[in-house]
Homo-oligomer: 218 residues x 2
């Protein structure tokens, strides 16, 4: 499909059927991930593509309590939202509950791993949260999401399982130096799947030359 159509309809799809995915399609979305740029072309990431029902169920058991804990704060935040945003957030919460209750039966969970020891993390000495390591991982995640969208598959970028990383690493038998950055369930959507998204406009997201000068959208 047209790239802009794919990007502008890439929703977080959290209601995913257990139906299997055509193996050739899985290969294409994995291949798309490998094309992503990385610092110094080191490709310091890997995917563990989890299809084994036993491992997926273990991941669900780890994920569910994290999701339930996360939604406590989220529901509180929703109270302050305007009505339309609140309705949309309530929908997202329901879909998230669905995922938390069905993660084990999604056909594929792509667990993105990374090795910081082969990354040049240029912001490691800055006095704030480091993100630059992610610059050699999340472009590959985004390629995989866009490729899944392109193939008509639902998917969503999750990171909550990083809070249980030691247990995930043991489950997937990750070697020393390899950690987890994202867990992407992929499969056919239960409902409409991808579609319209809600984002801030360009003149809010972009400044011209300096922070305070809004971008003059033509």
């Amino acid at each position: 499909m047209d790239m802009y159509d794919a990007m502008s309809t890439l929703r977080a799809v959290r209601r995913i059927k257990s139906d299997p995915i055509d193996p050739a399609v899985i290969n294409r979305i994995l291949l798309a991930a490998t094309w992503a740029p990385t610092g110094g072309n080191m490709q310091p990431w890997r995917i563990v593509a989890v299809e084994d029902p036993k491992i997926k169920t273990e991941l669900q058991h780890l994920y569910k309590p994290l999701w339930d804990a996360y939604t406590v704060g989220y529901r509180r935040k929703m109270e302050a939202m305007p009505a339309d945003e609140k309705a949309s957030s309530a929908g997202a919460l329901d879909a998230g509950d669905y995922l938390a209750n069905n993660l084990g039966s999604v056909p594929l969970i792509a667990v993105f791993c990374f090795n910081p020891s082969i990354m040049a993390i240029t912001d490691k000495d800055q006095p704030r949260a480091s993100v630059v390591g992610g610059g050699s991982v999340y472009p590959a995640v985004q390629n995989l999401l866009l490729a899944a969208r392109n193939e008509g598959l639902g998917c969503v970028l999750t990171t909550l399982l990083c809070m249980e990383e030691p247990r995930v690493r043991e489950l997937l038998q990750l070697p020393d130096d390899w950690y987890t950055a994202a867990h992407v369930p992929v499969g056919h959507s239960v409902g409409g799947g991808h579609g319209p998204i809600r984002r801030k406009p360009v003149n809010v997201m972009v400044s011209q030359d300096t922070w305070d000068k809004a971008w003059p959208t033509v």
Copy 2:
């Protein structure tokens, strides 16, 4: 263009002409960035789109010594590379030198900023470099790179300027809590621009179910 064609030919283009970019094209690639997913749809990133020659020149003055220092180690690493990889790396170095000497005349530098205080950084307590904040920034960077590719423009994801972040923040007048994640020069390519890329195959980058089981590429 076809999404897979765009992804599989998205090279790091470091030789960029000073020719201006059509403003409507710039708007389209900025819009593509805004479509990216972010944690909780918070969109905790912004772009400062730098076109002002004075600011671009200042960025070049900060970038050049960082690049020169970086290449010292890189040239040392190249000694150990096999011949074909060494040749390709030498080409990348030449292109990098070109960028370091011409950053000030590139038509657009998209500086991606982020605010960690509105991010849920789920790996912040893990005993290794944090990356998850990048999960709400680099998908947008990848969208912008792919959109630039789609529009026939050269571009490259750089992060070296994060090492001079305090001075970049001052230059772009970033407010408290906003930091820098990537600096993407964009413009028309001097040479062929995008084209074939060199990446590891799927069965090296992907495991099935657990780390040690290679993915059975069909």
